[in-house]
Point group: C2
Chain length 395, copies 2
């Protein structure tokens, strides 16, 4: 007797939660579960701004997959997905044999949204994964190391494109890192420029104004320059050109301007909007009862028919919910509709400052920073219980 085959693509927040959930919900002989991921490790997207600035090591933002899932229960394949063929119920891999499935969970994450800005893909860095943030840190340090020889101001100028959550959190880490970096490379701290450029008329668009003001005031007090209502027209080898033609010469340009869906999803024949799939209330792709899409590649709408932003919180809840639904399906049970329950949002501003809303409570300063760390620990707890929290967590 054959058991249903479940294939999960991606071991980010959504994919890993689905895998963990299925591992818990299903008995040994109820399903054949495979998890595919291009790296042997899971990385914690919400912490990548730290290694990008160098305030913590990138190993603090990743966990080996075999340490958090039971590889006797779930088969793990390290490979890159090259194509999804929903008609053939197949997934193609870059190196391995194609996989067939009865149920497919697509949790491949997103790609940077460049809004068509010229030269961005070629000349900017992206806070995207372990490789990319390690490269940002090393690039910045190399540029700083050249300053004493070349005395070019652009070497110690950092332009951060986008003042959304990632942008602001990254700027907060940069502010924390600079004194150490300047000591290391014999650079006067006041010579360094950190410029945060945002096309929208405010930092953290859509967020509580009082908290936004708090964040801006704090970061400005640390020397950060904000250019809001200022679209970037072009990114070059030398810096950025702003709308209107003004140029900022900068050796390090980091784009945090947003996320679009995954190319593999776009090319699968499934209907997408900017690469993201508007899923139904059971997180299914339009037209395919057995294909579920979660995380950054999925679009979920709120009651006002506006899309929720793609967050780790969203992906986590989707993964938890989906695991229960798939277990139910396999046992001939019913699907329950997914409903996102926002728990709040906290943005860190370096190690000791943050702003946030939990429930209807606004928080700033060290208490918000403390809550942010609790939220980070919660993810470790979901993945590996208290033992993982003790092993990898830090306050």
């Amino acid at each position: 007797m054959s058991v249903p085959k479940i294939v999960i693509l991606g071991a980010g927040f959504g994919g890993l939660m689905t895998a963990k959930g299925l591992q818990k919900e299903l008995g040994y002989n109820e399903a054949d579960i495979t998890l595919v991921n291009q790296n042997s490790y899971h990385y914690i997207t919400t912490k990548l701004h730290e290694p990008a600035a160098g305030t913590s090591h990138h190993d603090h933002a990743r966990l080996s997959i075999s340490s958090v899932i039971n590889t006797n229960r779930i088969k793990f394949i390290q490979d890159r997905v090259s194509a999804i063929k929903p008609e053939a119920k197949e997934v193609h891999l870059e190196n391995g044999e194609p996989l067939s499935y009865d149920y497919l969970v697509v949790a491949l994450g997103g790609a940077p949204e460049t809004f068509g800005i010229k030269g961005l893909l070629e000349n900017a860095f992206f806070i995207r994964n372990i490789n990319s943030v390690r490269m940002i840190r090393e690039h910045m340090e190399y540029m700083f190391s050249r300053y004493q020889e070349e005395k070019r101001e652009d070497l110690i100028t950092i332009v951060v494109g986008g003042a959304g959550f990632t942008g602001i959190e990254y700027v907060g880490e940069l502010v924390d890192r600079m004194p150490e970096l300047c000591r290391e490379y014999d650079i006067p701290l006041e010579k360094v420029r950190i410029i945060n450029v945002e096309a929208a008329p405010t930092v953290l668009p859509g967020f509580d104004k009082e908290l936004v003001d708090y964040a801006v005031k704090y970061l400005e007090s640390k020397g950060v320059e904000f250019l809001i209502s200022t679209p970037i027209e072009e990114c070059t080898e030398d810096g950025v050109i702003l709308k209107g033609g003004k140029e900022i010469k900068a050796a390090t340009i980091v784009w945090t301007g947003g996320v679009r869906g995954n190319k593999v999803v776009e090319e699968s024949g499934i209907e997408t909007m900017r690469g993201r799939v508007k899923v139904d209330e059971y997180l299914r792709a339009p037209g395919y009862d057995n294909v579920f899409i979660i995380g950054d590649s999925s679009l979920v709408f709120n009651e006002q028919e506006r899309p929720y932003p793609p967050t780790a919180q969203m992906a986590t809840q989707q993964g938890q919910h989906l695991a229960k639904n798939i277990a139910s399906l396999i046992r001939g049970g019913e699907l329950k509709p997914f409903k996102y329950e926002p728990k709040g949002t906290i943005a860190s501003l370096g190690n000791k400052e943050a702003i946030g809303i939990l429930g209807d409570k606004k928080m700033t300063g060290w208490s918000a920073a403390f809550m942010k760390k609790i939220v980070d620990l919660r993810w470790l707890f979901l993945l590996g219980g208290i033992s993982l929290v003790l092993r990898k967590g830090k306050l």
Copy 2:
């Protein structure tokens, strides 16, 4: 009553030994001593291969000048020398007022000798000072950090030009560093290439053959590739082109091929050979009784009329001798001729291996490595006594 003005240019091994010696020999009112150096610190040239590879921090290879000389006795000026005018008895500085002198000690160090190899100055790095080695380390790390994204083999290929002492010692440090570096950037160790290219028909030309063989065998066992009798024809943005046309693609090229004299000395009107000055037995520049030249800008010949190589040992002995001679001159005494006394040579091959000759005794392995560290500590002892050894020394 005015006292004689002594100006010392450069706080390397030679300049610093002269300053320390004069500080000891002369009483408070016997001379007006000024030391000029472009940095606020002295760097230990013989240790620069370590921070260049990243096996030790660059702060272990420098000491603040004010911590080793008595700035109440010796006036310290941080500035760069732009010209020496021996006829006018003046030294011009980049930022400050010109200095006049009665006695001048030129200890400005050398410059990289490129032997006219095309593209070397533009595309290669040099183990030259704190700024340059910090840059080498950061450049190499940035190249390694890009490997996982770009998978280009040249990113993790390092070409070291020159297999003299600096070249071999640097390669030894690289070998020590690679396991850590590969872990940091998720690179399989066996993929890294370290290629040492030397135009002469042997590694360490002129050194004892048995010891050379030991060094080569050890480094080859760690994966180093040697290309001897292989001149570099050109250095490009992409790598090096060897004589005969073969290209090696490499993102990091470090040139250790030799030292020539200082440009400021060459332009002073004093007679030079490849920028170095053949000094008389009292270390005086030809034609100027009151201008002394020591260290890498000086040429001292042995009894077979062959020049000694420019080393820290040579500069140190010159500085010690010169301080006594100048003190004697000021008091109306006689000058004593300088005679170099080679004490031996040790080349480290990383932290735990070395080869060397002390007196007529050959050494290899850990005992040579230990002796090398003793030699390093001796320099600290000469500069700051046992307290400096305890503060900065490491075994």
